[in-house]
């Protein structure tokens, strides 16, 4: 065999070994971790949601993340029947990917299954904890759902509940069946998941015919896959890799970073100290340095598009001298300002978290307060974050990042600010009353009521808000797709167009 034959043979083998070029209407999506399950009732986990939500499994309603409105999906309309009962009128002519017809029995079963204590579904625990739902089919296309206690936002909650056929067993499935525009046709564990477009989908046919999901943990590798032609969309790349304006997008990821203040423990129980903490942080100095430039200064626990968010609530002014004066004034009044205050950060919580925490410690210490920084792993951090707080009687500031992409502050404010809230560092009767009032409101009054809650939390300097964060995505130039706040938890293939 001569040299030429050897080279030709080698080239032929290499060509055979290389992956086949994707069809024009196929896309490849690189996720940052492998999917351990494809169970629809776990779709609130971001990567499971990016594969399952509205692609395979649909919901009764759908949140429009652009304006916070609620759109029909499998339910065409809904009415409040009073006393916690809502009637949903279901879309007709819908079939699951296994060929069975969608009806009210499927909705009833999906509710039972998602809330079953035997399954420990994340959607059940996250959105429906502490309530009982009773689903009563009226006919094949109508169902009444009653919640106890009554939920004024039940239709919004239904935007989280993935619908499965009534035959689905009460155990985690490895073959998800849904009404969505795609079905899972392959799951090669450890390698990829492939979704293929359905011909019998009830809605408009999407452009993307096939989507392949790959799993790559390393940030640099994921980012390299788009220019290498191996991936079309990488929903999450690191900030330092986002260097190409043509392919890289910053998008609000619905996360808010903040310091939870233990306001019930001295010296943090003194409002002057909490005000001083807020005034000591030069938030603007972080932007474009340790925190992405596209992030915005936070004034609320929720993102600005959430119901009742008040854009006029001011960011506390950076004024170190005034912060020092407030601390000294408190000291003069006998407040134990020299007590060690624990500043707890969570390793890996967001990019540059350690550096951000070190800078915060420096800034907060300049007020004259005694701040001790401790960075801990997530399992340890949770003990500081949820009651009973691991810090015990020691005053603590716990750095956290809170995600609320559902559009309603009810998913945030009770847990963060009510006296009984699992992660609440404050107990204020008036604030409790405002939260209870807002939770029970419907219609336009609900937004106004939440606005009052935000104002009160702001007046109390209940926490030190930092930033509404952004994530970074890389999208191939051959696609017409712009990541949005929804990309943090879902990636609807039907929204992707081929240029």
């Amino acid at each position: 065999m001569n040299c030429r034959t050897t080279l030709l043979g080698g080239a032929s083998i290499l060509m055979l070994a290389m992956p086949a070029f994707a069809q024009e209407n196929d896309v490849v999506i690189a996720l940052n971790e492998e999917l351990e399950t494809v169970e629809p009732c776990m779709a609130s986990q971001s990567n499971i949601g990016r594969v399952i939500l509205q692609n395979i499994s649909e919901t009764l309603t759908e949140l429009n993340t652009d304006d916070g409105s609620l759109m029909p999906r499998l339910a065409e309309s809904w009415e409040d029947q009073g006393e916690g009962t809502w009637r949903f009128n279901l879309r007709q002519g819908v079939v699951f990917s296994d060929g069975s017809s969608f009806d009210s029995a499927d909705v009833a079963h999906s509710i039972t299954r998602t809330l079953s204590p035997d399954l420990t579904c994340e959607i059940g625990a996250k959105f429906f904890g502490g309530m009982t739902l009773t689903a009563t089919p009226v006919d094949d296309n109508t169902i009444e759902i009653t919640s106890d206690p009554a939920q004024p936002i039940l239709p919004l909650l239904m935007s989280t509940l993935t619908i499965v056929p009534s035959e689905t067993a009460m155990e985690f499935t490895r073959e998800p069946v849904g009404t969505g525009p795609y079905e899972m046709t392959e799951w090669n564990v450890g390698q990829d998941i492939i979704l293929t477009r359905r011909d019998d989908y009830w809605g408009e046919q999407p452009e993307v015919a096939k989507a392949t999901y790959l799993f790559r943990t390393d940030d640099a590798v994921r980012a390299a896959m788009v220019p290498a032609g191996e991936a079309d969309i990488v929903p999450l790349i690191s900030q330092i890799d986002a260097t190409n304006e043509a392919t890289d997008f910053a998008y609000p990821n619905s996360e808010t970073t903040y310091l939870r203040v233990d306001s019930n423990i001295a010296p943090l129980d003194d409002i002057r100290i909490r005000q001083a903490l807020n005034m000591a942080v030069d938030r603007a100095a972080f932007l474009g340095t340790l925190v992405p430039e596209a992030a915005t200064l936070a004034t609320h626990m929720t993102v600005p598009t959430a119901l009742g968010a008040d854009v006029d609530l001011g960011v506390p002014e950076y004024n170190l001298e005034e912060a020092q004066r407030l601390v000294e004034e408190a000291r003069a009044d006998g407040v134990p300002v020299d007590t060690e205050i624990l500043l707890v950060g969570r390793l890996g919580n967001f990019p540059n978290v350690t550096e951000v925490m070190e800078a915060l410690q420096q800034m907060l210490s300049e007020t004259g307060l005694n701040i001790k920084l401790e960075m801990v792993e997530v399992a340890e951090w949770i003990k500081y974050y949820s009651k009973p707080f691991a810090a015990g009687d020691q005053p603590a500031l716990v750095a956290a990042m809170h995600d609320n992409n559902r559009g309603d502050p009810v998913f945030s404010m009770y847990f963060k600010y009510a006296c009984d809230g699992l992660q609440s560092g404050i107990c204020d009767e008036e604030l409790d009353g405002l939260i209870a009032d807002a939770t029970a409101q419907t219609g336009d009054e609900r937004g106004d009521a939440w606005r009052a809650v935000f104002q009160k939390a702001h007046d109390l300097y209940a926490d030190v808000f930092l930033f509404h964060m952004v994530g970074f995505s890389r999208v191939s130039e051959r696609l017409d797709f712009t990541p949005s706040i929804a990309t943090n938890s879902e990636l609807q293939l039907s929204q992707i167009k081929i240029k």
Binding site: L14, A125, R174, G190, A379
Partner: protein, 304 residues
């Protein structure tokens, strides 16, 4: 031989038992997985139910007793994270690691033994100096750095091979090449040293005096005697790969057992941690027996 195998099986079973006891209790000491698996605002009822479903509500010693009883029945429990049998999850991952380790170590062994022997034949010569220089660099270069540089150069710049993944033969090129470098450097050095000693021994000198060709001096006369320390190093390096090349598996998206172990520890997925340790320990036990048998083949004075 049968007696030897029996003795090794007993001693390995004792080691494995101690390992399981240690890992079981140490992993439980890392904390309750409930907080990691349930949403942070999950109700107490949901938490209690989760613990009951996964047997975490029972006293630790009862959990251990149940676990031992189950593994005696070849039931390694279910992965909390994946809601699947833990052994199934581990064997799927181990399949990848085993293939990666086998291919890499075969290539490394052939290359390092051949080049190390040739380097030893002309100590201080040009080939020896080049081989020593590159083997030392190879043994010292950090895996993750080499991997990223290789991806940038061979995948992004030249476009010769994919960045990562497992779909085709081309996907294996970079991970194997990167994994190759360190053991190749180490083994080449050991082969070279061992061969220098063997080539200076009386029986090789005699063979040389009788006019035996250099090729025969190295590969027929000296190599067999030089191989014993080399096999030990090959065994160590292979064991390290079987335990999982965590960095390489992570960077190149290889769903191997090393990455699975790290993920399972972080996720407090106890059944998977224990099953992974059992599977890799048994594989290493089998490999050690094979190495012992190789000793006997290479040196007839060794008998079991």
């Amino acid at each position: 031989m049968k007696k030897f195998l029996f003795k090794r099986a007993i001693s390995s079973a004792i080691s494995l038992t101690l390992l399981i006891v240690a890992v079981f209790f140490l992993s439980r000491l890392t904390g309750d997985p409930t907080d990691l698996y349930l949403p942070i605002d999950a109700s107490q009822e949901a938490r209690d139910n989760f613990r009951a479903v996964h047997g975490l509500d029972r006293p630790l010693i009862v959990q251990f007793g149940n676990y031992v009883w189950d593994i005696l029945h070849l039931d390694f429990g279910d992965s909390i994270r994946r809601a699947r049998p833990a052994l199934e999850v581990v064997l799927e991952a181990f399949k990848w690691t085993l293939q990666l380790a086998l291919i890499t170590m075969t290539l490394v062994s052939v290359a390092a033994i051949t080049l190390g022997s040739l380097a030893a034949f002309n100590v201080g010569g040009f080939f020896d100096r080049v081989a020593t220089f590159f083997s030392l660099i190879g043994a010292a270069a950090p895996d993750f750095w080499v991997a990223i540089v290789a991806i940038v150069f061979f995948s992004l710049t030249l476009g010769w091979v994919p960045t990562s993944g497992t779909g085709t033969a081309a996907h294996w090129v970079l991970p194997i090449a990167v994994l190759f470098i360190r053991p190749f450097g180490l083994i080449l050095q050991v082969v070279r040293g061992s061969m220098i000693t063997a080539l200076s021994s009386a029986y090789v000198k005699t063979a040389r005096a009788k006019g035996v060709t250099p090729k025969k001096q190295i590969f027929v006369h000296a190599l067999r005697n030089a191989m014993l320390p080399v096999i030990t190093v090959i065994g160590d390096q292979a064991a390290a790969l079987l335990n999982g090349a965590v960095v390489i598996e992570t960077i190149f998206g290889f769903p191997g057992v090393g990455k699975l172990m790290i993920d399972s520890i972080l996720q407090r997925d106890f059944s998977v941690i224990l099953a992974a340790i059992m599977v890799t320990a048994i594989a290493i036990f089998i490999m050690n027996i094979l190495i012992d048998l190789a000793y006997a083949v290479l040196d007839p004075r060794i008998r079991y």
